[in-house]
Assembly symmetry: C2
Homo-oligomer: 214 residues x 2
Amino acid sequence: MDAPSERTRVKRMNKRAAYNSGTVHGILDAMPICNVGYVFDGAPYVTPTLQWREGDHVYWHGSSASRMLEACEQAQVCLTVSIIDGFVMARSAYNHSCNYRSVMVLGTAHKLTDAAEKEASLKLFTEGLWPGRWDMLRQMTQKELKATTVLKMSLDEASAKVRDGAPGDDEADYALPIWAGVIPVRQQVLAPVDDPRLIPGLSPPQHITDFRFG
Amino acid sequence: MDAPSERTRVKRMNKRAAYNSGTVHGILDAMPICNVGYVFDGAPYVTPTLQWREGDHVYWHGSSASRMLEACEQAQVCLTVSIIDGFVMARSAYNHSCNYRSVMVLGTAHKLTDAAEKEASLKLFTEGLWPGRWDMLRQMTQKELKATTVLKMSLDEASAKVRDGAPGDDEADYALPIWAGVIPVRQQVLAPVDDPRLIPGLSPPQHITDFRFG
């Protein structure tokens, strides 16, 4: 993954590109929300879903009846993760920008066919976000496992693109009396809300109250 | 847009689907960040960018040198917007979910060719996010306008999908002593950060300090 393929080489603003696995892994691990692009009947589709990483592969899952997962299997896929860090407010419209961290993974998706491997991967997904939760839950049934498809894709063709910092204005524009800077943004996690049918007296465990992402 | 086409009809969990323009417009207007899916050399690509809406069309823009914009023009595109509202923590792994508001727009993208129309649309984009900013900025030059491509796509084939509320657990699982509920999340906007080269004494205008999204 450290050298880009022709397809993954970032074409525009390549000073913002990174191909090292540390950067790619860091972004994937920070943001479970992704957008999966696939082709169906010749047309592109983009479906938001959650992803997780194990080593040099990215995974996502859903109902075995999902058209998205069916269209992705053994097919070319683009999985994109992006984290917006700020709006970059310049002195001209043209130089406005965003600060962000993004990863694009190109590849072919494959279904996990072994039930034990599938369950282990779903456990890793859950534990990655909420450590300790899996073992607290009612166990997964064989029927549920069968109704769930997990797809896996190599990170061999992954690239990252990152922008941060202040606006880049035209030199002459810095003299103008226009406010410029960055509006930082981030994902905020609010206090958990009990299920109305929660057994009285149960408090949210630490994996809920400590949860952060982005 | 009020009746779905065969292509836009939501296939999975269609109790969560909406095709009315009010819902679709509301989600597009709340979240400028989108993911654009297109096909290049037969493979799907997903690029995050910003979108804005004017009436029954969605717009996005970028450098005239952008491969993404070139591949989208006169071609089939899927533009997806999603807002994550919460993580839905159930009593079984299988019933975990997310609360979200999402829109998928399918269609063919067209370039704005008239320079005045292009500039008017960029102004609307800027003013939609930061009212009053456009007229404060250094004016856009003809060269900058030429270097910017704006694409437009009809909302005729748009659909929304929304989930909110508590987990939906298996009836028997409600008796289990497992914490369940929702972890609400939202986009947080932090205090603006001055450009290090800002003219001393300039304060961020109200369109900066009032900015919210999502």
